[in-house]
Symmetry: C2
Subunit: 330 residues, 2 copies
Protein backbone atom coordinates (compact mmCIF):
# COMPACT_ATOMS: atom_id res chain seq x y z
CA UNK A 1 0.00 0.00 0.00
CA UNK A 2 1.34 3.45 -0.83
CA UNK A 3 2.10 5.57 2.22
CA UNK A 4 -0.42 8.37 2.51
CA UNK A 5 0.40 11.93 3.63
CA UNK A 6 -1.19 13.54 6.66
CA UNK A 7 -4.14 15.04 4.81
CA UNK A 8 -4.59 11.85 2.86
CA UNK A 9 -4.78 9.97 6.20
CA UNK A 10 -7.59 12.24 7.33
CA UNK A 11 -9.41 11.95 4.04
CA UNK A 12 -9.00 8.26 3.55
CA UNK A 13 -9.66 6.91 7.01
CA UNK A 14 -11.47 9.50 9.08
CA UNK A 15 -13.77 11.45 6.78
CA UNK A 16 -16.25 8.78 5.81
CA UNK A 17 -18.74 7.91 8.45
CA UNK A 18 -22.37 7.13 8.75
CA UNK A 19 -23.41 9.20 11.75
CA UNK A 20 -24.40 12.79 10.87
CA UNK A 21 -26.19 14.92 13.43
CA UNK A 22 -28.36 17.82 12.27
CA UNK A 23 -26.55 20.23 14.60
CA UNK A 24 -23.25 19.56 12.79
CA UNK A 25 -22.89 22.60 10.54
CA UNK A 26 -19.26 21.78 9.73
CA UNK A 27 -17.37 18.55 10.44
CA UNK A 28 -13.83 17.43 9.64
CA UNK A 29 -11.67 19.44 7.26
CA UNK A 30 -11.55 23.08 8.39
CA UNK A 31 -9.80 24.94 11.22
CA UNK A 32 -12.69 24.12 13.56
CA UNK A 33 -15.86 22.08 13.57
CA UNK A 34 -19.09 24.04 14.02
CA UNK A 35 -22.07 22.81 16.01
CA UNK A 36 -25.26 24.81 15.69
CA UNK A 37 -27.78 24.42 18.50
CA UNK A 38 -31.13 25.96 17.65
CA UNK A 39 -32.57 25.57 21.14
CA UNK A 40 -31.55 25.23 24.79
CA UNK A 41 -28.81 22.60 25.11
CA UNK A 42 -26.79 21.06 27.89
CA UNK A 43 -23.47 19.68 26.70
CA UNK A 44 -21.29 17.20 28.60
CA UNK A 45 -17.59 17.29 27.65
CA UNK A 46 -14.75 14.97 28.57
CA UNK A 47 -11.26 14.03 27.42
CA UNK A 48 -9.06 11.00 28.07
CA UNK A 49 -5.63 10.05 26.81
CA UNK A 50 -4.24 6.55 26.24
CA UNK A 51 -0.43 6.32 26.06
CA UNK A 52 1.50 3.34 24.66
CA UNK A 53 3.43 1.53 27.39
CA UNK A 54 1.27 3.09 30.10
CA UNK A 55 -2.36 2.37 29.21
CA UNK A 56 -1.76 -0.34 26.61
CA UNK A 57 1.02 -2.51 25.25
CA UNK A 58 2.80 -0.88 22.28
CA UNK A 59 1.95 -3.90 20.10
CA UNK A 60 -1.76 -3.78 21.00
CA UNK A 61 -4.23 -4.72 18.28
CA UNK A 62 -5.03 -1.36 16.61
CA UNK A 63 -8.70 -2.23 16.04
CA UNK A 64 -9.21 -2.97 19.73
CA UNK A 65 -7.25 0.17 20.57
CA UNK A 66 -9.49 2.31 18.37
CA UNK A 67 -12.48 0.92 20.25
CA UNK A 68 -10.94 1.49 23.67
CA UNK A 69 -9.78 5.07 22.99
CA UNK A 70 -13.39 6.07 22.35
CA UNK A 71 -14.91 3.70 24.94
CA UNK A 72 -13.11 5.25 27.91
CA UNK A 73 -14.53 8.65 26.94
CA UNK A 74 -18.07 7.35 26.35
CA UNK A 75 -17.82 5.81 29.81
CA UNK A 76 -17.32 9.30 31.27
CA UNK A 77 -20.37 10.55 29.40
CA UNK A 78 -22.36 7.55 30.65
CA UNK A 79 -21.40 8.37 34.24
CA UNK A 80 -23.00 11.80 33.84
CA UNK A 81 -26.16 10.39 32.27
CA UNK A 82 -25.29 12.06 28.95
CA UNK A 83 -26.02 10.84 25.43
CA UNK A 84 -22.88 10.56 23.27
CA UNK A 85 -23.05 12.72 20.13
CA UNK A 86 -19.66 13.96 18.90
CA UNK A 87 -15.94 13.28 19.24
CA UNK A 88 -12.60 14.81 18.30
CA UNK A 89 -9.54 12.59 17.90
CA UNK A 90 -5.92 13.65 18.43
CA UNK A 91 -3.73 10.82 17.17
CA UNK A 92 0.03 10.78 17.68
CA UNK A 93 1.73 8.06 15.63
CA UNK A 94 5.40 7.01 15.51
CA UNK A 95 5.07 6.02 11.88
CA UNK A 96 2.67 6.19 9.05
CA UNK A 97 1.33 2.66 8.65
CA UNK A 98 -1.88 2.67 6.60
CA UNK A 99 -2.88 -0.83 7.73
CA UNK A 100 -2.51 0.13 11.38
CA UNK A 101 -4.49 3.33 10.86
CA UNK A 102 -7.21 1.57 8.88
CA UNK A 103 -7.66 -1.00 11.67
CA UNK A 104 -7.66 1.73 14.33
CA UNK A 105 -10.32 3.67 12.40
CA UNK A 106 -12.40 0.51 12.02
CA UNK A 107 -12.41 -0.09 15.78
CA UNK A 108 -13.11 3.58 16.52
CA UNK A 109 -15.99 3.93 14.06
CA UNK A 110 -17.42 0.52 14.97
CA UNK A 111 -18.10 1.76 18.49
CA UNK A 112 -18.91 5.30 17.35
CA UNK A 113 -21.64 4.14 14.99
CA UNK A 114 -23.22 1.86 17.58
CA UNK A 115 -23.59 4.84 19.93
CA UNK A 116 -24.40 7.56 17.40
CA UNK A 117 -21.10 9.40 17.73
CA UNK A 118 -19.97 11.67 14.87
CA UNK A 119 -16.25 12.44 14.53
CA UNK A 120 -16.08 16.17 13.78
CA UNK A 121 -12.39 17.02 14.13
CA UNK A 122 -8.95 16.05 15.22
CA UNK A 123 -5.24 16.34 14.76
CA UNK A 124 -2.67 13.88 13.40
CA UNK A 125 0.89 14.29 14.64
CA UNK A 126 4.10 12.30 14.63
CA UNK A 127 5.53 11.14 17.95
CA UNK A 128 5.32 8.38 20.56
CA UNK A 129 2.03 6.50 20.11
CA UNK A 130 -0.75 8.19 22.09
CA UNK A 131 -4.43 8.86 21.56
CA UNK A 132 -6.47 11.67 23.05
CA UNK A 133 -10.21 11.68 22.43
CA UNK A 134 -12.62 14.42 23.41
CA UNK A 135 -16.22 13.32 23.57
CA UNK A 136 -19.30 15.50 23.71
CA UNK A 137 -22.75 14.43 24.74
CA UNK A 138 -26.09 16.03 25.43
CA UNK A 139 -27.54 15.86 28.93
CA UNK A 140 -31.28 15.91 29.24
CA UNK A 141 -33.24 16.82 32.34
CA UNK A 142 -32.61 19.42 34.93
CA UNK A 143 -29.23 18.31 36.25
CA UNK A 144 -26.44 15.94 35.36
CA UNK A 145 -25.50 13.12 37.73
CA UNK A 146 -22.48 14.45 39.61
CA UNK A 147 -20.07 12.87 42.06
CA UNK A 148 -21.19 15.13 44.86
CA UNK A 149 -24.80 14.07 45.50
CA UNK A 150 -24.49 10.94 47.69
CA UNK A 151 -26.43 11.07 51.00
CA UNK A 152 -26.14 8.91 54.13
CA UNK A 153 -28.52 5.97 53.77
CA UNK A 154 -28.17 5.78 49.97
CA UNK A 155 -27.36 2.37 48.56
CA UNK A 156 -24.10 1.90 46.61
CA UNK A 157 -24.41 0.01 43.34
CA UNK A 158 -22.09 -1.12 40.59
CA UNK A 159 -22.90 -2.32 37.08
CA UNK A 160 -21.51 -5.50 35.50
CA UNK A 161 -18.49 -7.12 37.13
CA UNK A 162 -15.36 -5.90 38.91
CA UNK A 163 -11.75 -7.01 38.53
CA UNK A 164 -12.14 -8.40 35.03
CA UNK A 165 -9.75 -5.93 33.40
CA UNK A 166 -7.37 -6.37 36.33
CA UNK A 167 -7.39 -10.11 35.76
CA UNK A 168 -6.91 -9.58 32.01
CA UNK A 169 -3.86 -7.43 32.73
CA UNK A 170 -2.33 -10.05 35.02
CA UNK A 171 -2.85 -12.71 32.35
CA UNK A 172 -1.35 -10.54 29.61
CA UNK A 173 1.61 -9.62 31.82
CA UNK A 174 2.22 -13.32 32.46
CA UNK A 175 1.69 -12.79 36.20
CA UNK A 176 -1.22 -15.24 36.32
CA UNK A 177 -1.77 -18.27 34.16
CA UNK A 178 -5.34 -18.67 32.93
CA UNK A 179 -7.34 -18.69 29.73
CA UNK A 180 -10.04 -16.06 30.18
CA UNK A 181 -11.32 -14.32 27.03
CA UNK A 182 -13.88 -12.39 29.07
CA UNK A 183 -11.10 -10.82 31.15
CA UNK A 184 -8.91 -10.01 28.13
CA UNK A 185 -11.88 -8.53 26.28
CA UNK A 186 -12.72 -6.34 29.25
CA UNK A 187 -9.15 -5.06 29.29
CA UNK A 188 -8.99 -4.42 25.54
CA UNK A 189 -12.52 -3.56 24.44
CA UNK A 190 -14.56 -2.40 27.43
CA UNK A 191 -18.21 -1.65 26.72
CA UNK A 192 -19.20 1.78 28.02
CA UNK A 193 -22.50 1.61 29.94
CA UNK A 194 -24.17 4.16 27.71
CA UNK A 195 -27.72 2.75 27.76
CA UNK A 196 -27.84 2.34 31.52
CA UNK A 197 -26.13 5.71 31.98
CA UNK A 198 -29.01 7.44 30.21
CA UNK A 199 -31.35 6.09 32.93
CA UNK A 200 -29.21 7.38 35.82
CA UNK A 201 -31.03 10.74 36.22
CA UNK A 202 -34.18 8.76 37.18
CA UNK A 203 -32.66 7.44 40.41
CA UNK A 204 -28.95 8.14 40.98
CA UNK A 205 -27.80 10.65 43.59
CA UNK A 206 -24.15 10.34 42.45
CA UNK A 207 -22.19 8.38 39.87
CA UNK A 208 -18.64 7.82 38.62
CA UNK A 209 -17.16 5.42 36.14
CA UNK A 210 -14.74 2.84 37.48
CA UNK A 211 -11.51 3.57 35.63
CA UNK A 212 -8.95 3.73 38.47
CA UNK A 213 -10.47 0.97 40.61
CA UNK A 214 -13.63 0.87 42.72
CA UNK A 215 -11.95 1.99 45.94
CA UNK A 216 -10.36 5.04 44.33
CA UNK A 217 -13.38 6.00 42.25
CA UNK A 218 -15.98 5.45 44.97
CA UNK A 219 -13.51 7.41 47.10
CA UNK A 220 -14.08 10.43 44.83
CA UNK A 221 -17.84 10.20 45.37
CA UNK A 222 -17.28 10.00 49.13
CA UNK A 223 -14.89 12.92 49.19
CA UNK A 224 -16.96 15.15 46.93
CA UNK A 225 -20.20 14.23 48.74
CA UNK A 226 -18.55 14.55 52.19
CA UNK A 227 -19.79 11.11 53.29
CA UNK A 228 -18.39 7.65 54.03
CA UNK A 229 -19.42 4.19 52.81
CA UNK A 230 -19.50 0.57 53.89
CA UNK A 231 -18.97 -2.02 51.19
CA UNK A 232 -19.44 -5.76 51.70
CA UNK A 233 -16.76 -7.68 49.86
CA UNK A 234 -19.10 -10.64 49.48
CA UNK A 235 -21.53 -8.49 47.48
CA UNK A 236 -18.97 -7.48 44.83
CA UNK A 237 -19.96 -8.84 41.42
CA UNK A 238 -17.07 -11.17 40.52
CA UNK A 239 -16.87 -13.49 37.53
CA UNK A 240 -15.95 -17.14 38.02
CA UNK A 241 -12.50 -16.31 36.64
CA UNK A 242 -11.96 -13.45 39.10
CA UNK A 243 -13.16 -15.66 42.00
CA UNK A 244 -10.67 -18.33 40.92
CA UNK A 245 -7.88 -15.76 40.78
CA UNK A 246 -8.71 -14.52 44.30
CA UNK A 247 -8.81 -18.09 45.62
CA UNK A 248 -5.51 -18.98 43.92
CA UNK A 249 -3.62 -15.86 44.91
CA UNK A 250 -5.24 -14.72 48.16
CA UNK A 251 -5.31 -11.24 46.55
CA UNK A 252 -8.83 -10.27 47.65
CA UNK A 253 -8.06 -6.58 47.17
CA UNK A 254 -7.66 -6.87 43.39
CA UNK A 255 -11.36 -6.42 42.45
CA UNK A 256 -11.44 -3.30 44.64
CA UNK A 257 -8.25 -1.65 43.39
CA UNK A 258 -7.74 -2.81 39.79
CA UNK A 259 -8.71 -0.24 37.19
CA UNK A 260 -9.96 -0.26 33.60
CA UNK A 261 -13.31 -2.03 34.16
CA UNK A 262 -15.33 1.00 32.97
CA UNK A 263 -18.36 -0.01 34.96
CA UNK A 264 -20.56 2.60 36.64
CA UNK A 265 -20.52 2.98 40.41
CA UNK A 266 -23.53 4.96 41.60
CA UNK A 267 -25.58 5.73 44.68
CA UNK A 268 -29.37 5.93 44.99
CA UNK A 269 -31.84 6.57 47.82
CA UNK A 270 -33.53 3.45 49.22
CA UNK A 271 -36.90 4.55 47.82
CA UNK A 272 -35.47 4.41 44.29
CA UNK A 273 -34.49 0.72 44.47
CA UNK A 274 -37.34 -0.27 42.16
CA UNK A 275 -36.34 2.30 39.56
CA UNK A 276 -32.81 0.88 39.62
CA UNK A 277 -34.14 -2.63 39.03
CA UNK A 278 -36.39 -1.49 36.20
CA UNK A 279 -33.57 0.35 34.43
CA UNK A 280 -31.28 -2.66 34.85
CA UNK A 281 -33.90 -4.94 33.29
CA UNK A 282 -34.81 -2.52 30.49
CA UNK A 283 -31.18 -2.14 29.41
CA UNK A 284 -30.07 -5.73 30.06
CA UNK A 285 -27.52 -4.55 32.61
CA UNK A 286 -26.44 -6.52 35.65
CA UNK A 287 -26.56 -4.20 38.66
CA UNK A 288 -25.37 -5.20 42.14
CA UNK A 289 -25.91 -3.45 45.43
CA UNK A 290 -22.54 -3.56 47.16
CA UNK A 291 -22.91 -1.27 50.16
CA UNK A 292 -24.37 1.77 51.88
CA UNK A 293 -23.44 5.43 52.25
CA UNK A 294 -22.85 6.50 55.88
CA UNK A 295 -22.26 9.80 57.59
CA UNK A 296 -18.55 10.43 58.14
CA UNK A 297 -15.75 9.81 55.67
CA UNK A 298 -13.75 7.08 54.01
CA UNK A 299 -14.45 3.62 52.69
CA UNK A 300 -14.92 0.64 55.04
CA UNK A 301 -14.75 -2.81 53.51
CA UNK A 302 -16.23 -5.76 55.40
CA UNK A 303 -15.09 -9.22 54.43
CA UNK A 304 -16.32 -12.39 56.17
CA UNK A 305 -18.05 -10.10 58.64
CA UNK A 306 -14.84 -8.29 59.65
CA UNK A 307 -13.61 -4.83 58.72
CA UNK A 308 -10.55 -4.94 56.44
CA UNK A 309 -7.92 -2.36 55.73
CA UNK A 310 -7.14 -1.64 52.07
CA UNK A 311 -3.41 -1.32 51.55
CA UNK A 312 -3.50 -0.43 47.92
CA UNK A 313 -5.54 2.32 46.41
CA UNK A 314 -6.49 2.40 42.74
CA UNK A 315 -4.21 3.23 39.88
CA UNK A 316 -2.86 6.73 40.23
CA UNK A 317 -0.68 8.05 37.44
CA UNK A 318 1.32 10.08 39.92
CA UNK A 319 1.26 8.75 43.43
CA UNK A 320 2.19 11.22 46.12
CA UNK A 321 5.13 10.47 48.39
CA UNK A 322 2.99 10.12 51.48
CA UNK A 323 1.14 7.26 49.85
CA UNK A 324 4.16 5.39 48.54
CA UNK A 325 6.00 5.64 51.84
CA UNK A 326 3.39 3.37 53.40
CA UNK A 327 3.70 -0.24 52.33
CA UNK A 328 1.57 -3.25 53.15
CA UNK A 329 3.02 -5.42 55.95
CA UNK A 330 3.66 -8.58 53.94
CA UNK B 1 8.51 20.89 47.23
CA UNK B 2 6.62 17.72 48.04
CA UNK B 3 5.62 15.68 45.00
CA UNK B 4 1.88 15.90 44.50
CA UNK B 5 -0.34 13.03 43.34
CA UNK B 6 -2.47 13.18 40.20
CA UNK B 7 -5.54 14.61 41.88
CA UNK B 8 -3.41 16.99 43.86
CA UNK B 9 -1.88 18.24 40.57
CA UNK B 10 -5.35 18.99 39.24
CA UNK B 11 -6.41 20.69 42.45
CA UNK B 12 -3.28 22.67 43.04
CA UNK B 13 -2.44 23.95 39.58
CA UNK B 14 -5.48 23.72 37.36
CA UNK B 15 -8.57 24.36 39.49
CA UNK B 16 -8.07 27.99 40.42
CA UNK B 17 -8.76 30.42 37.67
CA UNK B 18 -10.38 33.76 37.22
CA UNK B 19 -12.49 33.22 34.11
CA UNK B 20 -15.95 31.81 34.84
CA UNK B 21 -18.59 31.82 32.14
CA UNK B 22 -22.28 31.76 33.11
CA UNK B 23 -22.91 28.77 30.82
CA UNK B 24 -20.43 26.64 32.80
CA UNK B 25 -22.72 24.52 34.99
CA UNK B 26 -19.89 22.21 36.02
CA UNK B 27 -16.16 22.72 35.50
CA UNK B 28 -13.13 20.65 36.50
CA UNK B 29 -13.48 17.77 38.94
CA UNK B 30 -16.21 15.40 37.73
CA UNK B 31 -16.43 12.79 34.95
CA UNK B 32 -17.45 15.51 32.49
CA UNK B 33 -17.81 19.26 32.35
CA UNK B 34 -21.32 20.57 31.69
CA UNK B 35 -22.09 23.64 29.57
CA UNK B 36 -25.66 24.91 29.68
CA UNK B 37 -26.77 27.05 26.74
CA UNK B 38 -30.09 28.75 27.40
CA UNK B 39 -30.50 30.06 23.84
CA UNK B 40 -29.42 29.36 20.28
CA UNK B 41 -25.66 28.82 20.14
CA UNK B 42 -23.04 28.12 17.49
CA UNK B 43 -19.98 26.41 18.89
CA UNK B 44 -16.60 26.17 17.18
CA UNK B 45 -14.43 23.25 18.32
CA UNK B 46 -10.81 22.42 17.59
CA UNK B 47 -7.98 20.30 18.96
CA UNK B 48 -4.22 20.43 18.52
CA UNK B 49 -1.40 18.35 19.97
CA UNK B 50 2.17 19.44 20.69
CA UNK B 51 4.69 16.60 21.06
CA UNK B 52 8.15 16.97 22.64
CA UNK B 53 10.90 16.51 20.06
CA UNK B 54 8.48 17.16 17.19
CA UNK B 55 6.76 20.47 17.93
CA UNK B 56 9.12 21.74 20.61
CA UNK B 57 12.48 20.94 22.17
CA UNK B 58 12.13 18.62 25.19
CA UNK B 59 13.87 21.21 27.40
CA UNK B 60 11.52 24.01 26.31
CA UNK B 61 10.61 26.62 28.93
CA UNK B 62 7.40 25.20 30.46
CA UNK B 63 5.78 28.63 30.87
CA UNK B 64 6.24 29.41 27.18
CA UNK B 65 5.03 25.90 26.32
CA UNK B 66 1.85 26.38 28.38
CA UNK B 67 1.19 29.55 26.39
CA UNK B 68 1.87 27.91 23.03
CA UNK B 69 -0.26 24.80 23.69
CA UNK B 70 -3.30 27.03 24.12
CA UNK B 71 -2.25 29.63 21.51
CA UNK B 72 -2.21 27.17 18.60
CA UNK B 73 -5.79 26.22 19.41
CA UNK B 74 -6.98 29.81 19.85
CA UNK B 75 -5.44 30.49 16.44
CA UNK B 76 -7.80 27.89 14.92
CA UNK B 77 -10.77 29.58 16.61
CA UNK B 78 -9.58 32.97 15.33
CA UNK B 79 -9.42 31.60 11.77
CA UNK B 80 -13.15 30.74 11.99
CA UNK B 81 -14.06 34.14 13.45
CA UNK B 82 -15.01 32.49 16.76
CA UNK B 83 -14.70 33.93 20.27
CA UNK B 84 -12.63 31.68 22.60
CA UNK B 85 -14.59 30.54 25.65
CA UNK B 86 -13.54 27.14 27.03
CA UNK B 87 -10.69 24.65 26.90
CA UNK B 88 -9.89 21.10 27.97
CA UNK B 89 -6.28 20.07 28.59
CA UNK B 90 -4.84 16.56 28.22
CA UNK B 91 -1.34 16.63 29.65
CA UNK B 92 1.05 13.68 29.34
CA UNK B 93 4.12 14.09 31.55
CA UNK B 94 7.21 11.87 31.87
CA UNK B 95 7.58 12.83 35.51
CA UNK B 96 5.81 14.66 38.20
CA UNK B 97 7.76 17.90 38.63
CA UNK B 98 5.65 20.47 40.50
CA UNK B 99 7.84 23.38 39.43
CA UNK B 100 7.51 22.44 35.76
CA UNK B 101 3.74 22.01 36.10
CA UNK B 102 3.35 25.29 37.99
CA UNK B 103 5.23 27.16 35.25
CA UNK B 104 3.23 25.42 32.52
CA UNK B 105 -0.03 26.35 34.25
CA UNK B 106 1.14 29.94 34.62
CA UNK B 107 1.80 30.23 30.88
CA UNK B 108 -1.46 28.50 30.01
CA UNK B 109 -3.64 30.60 32.31
CA UNK B 110 -1.81 33.82 31.42
CA UNK B 111 -3.02 33.50 27.83
CA UNK B 112 -6.36 31.97 28.84
CA UNK B 113 -7.25 34.90 31.08
CA UNK B 114 -6.31 37.46 28.47
CA UNK B 115 -8.75 35.86 26.04
CA UNK B 116 -11.52 34.88 28.45
CA UNK B 117 -10.92 31.14 28.24
CA UNK B 118 -12.14 28.93 31.09
CA UNK B 119 -10.45 25.53 31.59
CA UNK B 120 -13.31 23.10 32.28
CA UNK B 121 -11.70 19.68 32.12
CA UNK B 122 -8.75 17.54 31.22
CA UNK B 123 -6.71 14.46 31.86
CA UNK B 124 -3.27 13.99 33.40
CA UNK B 125 -1.32 10.92 32.34
CA UNK B 126 2.20 9.63 32.57
CA UNK B 127 4.20 9.15 29.35
CA UNK B 128 6.35 10.97 26.80
CA UNK B 129 5.77 14.72 27.13
CA UNK B 130 2.82 15.80 24.96
CA UNK B 131 -0.01 18.28 25.30
CA UNK B 132 -3.40 18.11 23.63
CA UNK B 133 -5.75 21.05 24.06
CA UNK B 134 -9.34 21.19 22.92
CA UNK B 135 -10.68 24.72 22.57
CA UNK B 136 -14.28 25.80 22.22
CA UNK B 137 -15.53 29.16 21.04
CA UNK B 138 -18.80 30.77 20.13
CA UNK B 139 -19.37 31.92 16.58
CA UNK B 140 -21.72 34.83 16.05
CA UNK B 141 -23.51 35.71 12.85
CA UNK B 142 -25.02 33.51 10.24
CA UNK B 143 -21.97 31.53 9.13
CA UNK B 144 -18.43 30.84 10.19
CA UNK B 145 -15.52 31.77 7.95
CA UNK B 146 -14.60 28.54 6.20
CA UNK B 147 -11.76 27.54 3.92
CA UNK B 148 -14.08 26.95 1.02
CA UNK B 149 -15.43 30.44 0.22
CA UNK B 150 -12.68 32.07 -1.87
CA UNK B 151 -13.79 33.42 -5.29
CA UNK B 152 -11.76 34.47 -8.36
CA UNK B 153 -10.91 38.16 -8.04
CA UNK B 154 -10.77 38.09 -4.22
CA UNK B 155 -7.68 39.61 -2.68
CA UNK B 156 -5.38 37.39 -0.56
CA UNK B 157 -4.27 38.89 2.75
CA UNK B 158 -2.09 37.83 5.64
CA UNK B 159 -1.83 39.32 9.13
CA UNK B 160 1.46 40.22 10.85
CA UNK B 161 4.67 38.81 9.43
CA UNK B 162 5.73 35.55 7.78
CA UNK B 163 8.80 33.42 8.37
CA UNK B 164 9.49 34.68 11.90
CA UNK B 165 8.93 31.32 13.57
CA UNK B 166 10.90 29.64 10.79
CA UNK B 167 13.80 31.98 11.46
CA UNK B 168 13.49 31.38 15.20
CA UNK B 169 13.71 27.64 14.61
CA UNK B 170 16.84 28.00 12.46
CA UNK B 171 18.46 30.12 15.17
CA UNK B 172 17.54 27.68 17.92
CA UNK B 173 18.76 24.72 15.85
CA UNK B 174 22.07 26.50 15.31
CA UNK B 175 21.51 26.50 11.55
CA UNK B 176 21.66 30.31 11.34
CA UNK B 177 23.57 32.67 13.54
CA UNK B 178 21.62 35.75 14.61
CA UNK B 179 20.24 37.41 17.69
CA UNK B 180 16.53 37.90 17.04
CA UNK B 181 14.22 37.91 20.06
CA UNK B 182 11.22 38.67 17.84
CA UNK B 183 11.82 35.47 15.87
CA UNK B 184 12.38 33.32 18.99
CA UNK B 185 9.27 34.78 20.63
CA UNK B 186 7.20 34.03 17.57
CA UNK B 187 8.42 30.43 17.67
CA UNK B 188 7.81 29.99 21.42
CA UNK B 189 4.90 32.27 22.31
CA UNK B 190 2.88 33.07 19.20
CA UNK B 191 0.00 35.49 19.69
CA UNK B 192 -3.23 34.12 18.26
CA UNK B 193 -5.02 36.77 16.17
CA UNK B 194 -8.19 36.56 18.25
CA UNK B 195 -9.26 40.22 18.06
CA UNK B 196 -8.81 40.45 14.30
CA UNK B 197 -10.38 37.02 13.85
CA UNK B 198 -13.61 38.27 15.41
CA UNK B 199 -13.87 40.86 12.63
CA UNK B 200 -13.41 38.29 9.81
CA UNK B 201 -17.15 37.64 9.23
CA UNK B 202 -17.48 41.30 8.17
CA UNK B 203 -15.35 40.84 5.05
CA UNK B 204 -13.57 37.48 4.67
CA UNK B 205 -14.70 34.96 2.05
CA UNK B 206 -12.26 32.31 3.39
CA UNK B 207 -9.64 32.03 6.12
CA UNK B 208 -7.08 29.62 7.55
CA UNK B 209 -4.40 30.03 10.17
CA UNK B 210 -0.81 29.70 9.01
CA UNK B 211 0.51 26.76 11.02
CA UNK B 212 2.12 24.57 8.33
CA UNK B 213 3.46 27.42 6.17
CA UNK B 214 1.68 29.91 3.91
CA UNK B 215 2.01 27.81 0.75
CA UNK B 216 0.53 24.71 2.37
CA UNK B 217 -2.21 26.55 4.26
CA UNK B 218 -3.25 28.86 1.43
CA UNK B 219 -3.15 25.66 -0.61
CA UNK B 220 -5.99 24.29 1.54
CA UNK B 221 -8.10 27.37 0.80
CA UNK B 222 -7.39 26.96 -2.91
CA UNK B 223 -8.21 23.27 -2.91
CA UNK B 224 -11.38 23.58 -0.83
CA UNK B 225 -12.55 26.64 -2.79
CA UNK B 226 -11.60 25.07 -6.15
CA UNK B 227 -9.60 28.12 -7.22
CA UNK B 228 -5.98 29.15 -7.79
CA UNK B 229 -3.97 32.13 -6.55
CA UNK B 230 -1.13 34.40 -7.56
CA UNK B 231 1.09 35.64 -4.77
CA UNK B 232 3.76 38.31 -5.20
CA UNK B 233 6.83 37.44 -3.17
CA UNK B 234 7.71 41.14 -2.85
CA UNK B 235 4.42 41.76 -1.04
CA UNK B 236 5.06 39.20 1.71
CA UNK B 237 5.33 40.92 5.10
CA UNK B 238 8.88 40.11 6.21
CA UNK B 239 10.67 41.47 9.26
CA UNK B 240 14.14 43.00 8.91
CA UNK B 241 15.55 39.81 10.46
CA UNK B 242 13.77 37.55 7.96
CA UNK B 243 14.92 39.78 5.06
CA UNK B 244 18.48 39.50 6.34
CA UNK B 245 18.19 35.71 6.56
CA UNK B 246 16.89 35.49 2.98
CA UNK B 247 19.71 37.75 1.73
CA UNK B 248 22.35 35.75 3.64
CA UNK B 249 21.11 32.30 2.68
CA UNK B 250 19.40 32.77 -0.67
CA UNK B 251 16.53 30.73 0.83
CA UNK B 252 13.66 32.85 -0.49
CA UNK B 253 11.20 30.00 -0.06
CA UNK B 254 11.48 29.99 3.73
CA UNK B 255 8.80 32.62 4.46
CA UNK B 256 6.41 30.69 2.22
CA UNK B 257 7.02 27.22 3.59
CA UNK B 258 8.07 27.62 7.22
CA UNK B 259 5.30 26.87 9.72
CA UNK B 260 4.38 27.96 13.22
CA UNK B 261 3.72 31.68 12.53
CA UNK B 262 0.04 31.42 13.54
CA UNK B 263 -0.95 34.37 11.42
CA UNK B 264 -4.26 34.45 9.57
CA UNK B 265 -4.35 34.08 5.79
CA UNK B 266 -7.70 35.19 4.39
CA UNK B 267 -9.41 36.22 1.20
CA UNK B 268 -11.89 39.07 0.69
CA UNK B 269 -13.76 40.55 -2.28
CA UNK B 270 -12.29 43.78 -3.68
CA UNK B 271 -15.32 45.79 -2.50
CA UNK B 272 -14.48 44.83 1.12
CA UNK B 273 -10.98 46.35 1.07
CA UNK B 274 -12.09 49.26 3.25
CA UNK B 275 -13.63 46.95 5.83
CA UNK B 276 -10.32 45.04 6.00
CA UNK B 277 -8.42 48.27 6.60
CA UNK B 278 -10.87 49.42 9.27
CA UNK B 279 -10.66 46.10 11.15
CA UNK B 280 -6.85 46.17 10.94
CA UNK B 281 -6.75 49.67 12.40
CA UNK B 282 -9.36 48.97 15.08
CA UNK B 283 -7.47 45.90 16.34
CA UNK B 284 -3.95 47.24 15.84
CA UNK B 285 -3.16 44.44 13.40
CA UNK B 286 -0.79 44.73 10.47
CA UNK B 287 -2.54 43.30 7.40
CA UNK B 288 -0.84 42.88 4.01
CA UNK B 289 -2.36 42.15 0.65
CA UNK B 290 -0.10 39.52 -0.89
CA UNK B 291 -1.98 38.32 -3.96
CA UNK B 292 -5.17 37.55 -5.83
CA UNK B 293 -7.45 34.55 -6.23
CA UNK B 294 -7.73 33.30 -9.84
CA UNK B 295 -9.87 30.75 -11.61
CA UNK B 296 -8.03 27.46 -11.99
CA UNK B 297 -5.98 25.70 -9.35
CA UNK B 298 -2.67 25.86 -7.52
CA UNK B 299 -0.46 28.59 -6.16
CA UNK B 300 1.70 30.72 -8.45
CA UNK B 301 4.44 32.75 -6.83
CA UNK B 302 5.93 35.68 -8.73
CA UNK B 303 9.32 36.97 -7.62
CA UNK B 304 11.12 39.84 -9.33
CA UNK B 305 8.40 39.70 -11.97
CA UNK B 306 9.02 36.02 -12.84
CA UNK B 307 7.00 32.94 -11.91
CA UNK B 308 8.86 30.70 -9.45
CA UNK B 309 8.42 27.04 -8.66
CA UNK B 310 8.14 26.09 -4.99
CA UNK B 311 10.18 22.96 -4.29
CA UNK B 312 9.22 22.59 -0.68
CA UNK B 313 5.72 22.54 0.64
CA UNK B 314 4.87 23.34 4.23
CA UNK B 315 5.50 21.10 7.18
CA UNK B 316 3.64 17.84 6.82
CA UNK B 317 3.83 15.38 9.68
CA UNK B 318 3.60 12.50 7.27
CA UNK B 319 4.79 13.27 3.78
CA UNK B 320 3.59 10.92 1.10
CA UNK B 321 6.13 8.98 -0.95
CA UNK B 322 5.28 10.81 -4.16
CA UNK B 323 6.30 14.07 -2.52
CA UNK B 324 9.53 12.88 -0.95
CA UNK B 325 10.66 11.16 -4.16
CA UNK B 326 10.89 14.55 -5.82
CA UNK B 327 13.88 16.60 -4.70
CA UNK B 328 14.89 20.12 -5.54
CA UNK B 329 17.61 20.31 -8.20
CA UNK B 330 20.33 21.96 -6.12
Amino acid sequence: MQRPGEFEIIRRFFSRQRVMHPETELGIGDDCAILNFAAETRLALTTDTLVAGVHFFPDADPMRLGHKALAVNLSDLAAMGARPRWALLALTLPENDPEWIAAFAQGFFGLAERHGVQLIGGDTTRGPLAITVQALGTAAGRSAVKRSGAQPGDAVYVTGGLGLAGLGLKIRQGAYDASDEEALDRLDVPEPRVGFGLRLPEFASACIDVSDGLAADLGHILEQSAVGAEVDWENLPLSAGVCRYVADSGDWEMPLVAGDDYELCFTAPAMKANAVTLAAEATGTRVSRIGTIRAGSGLSVRRAGRPERLWRSGYLHFVSRETTDESPPR
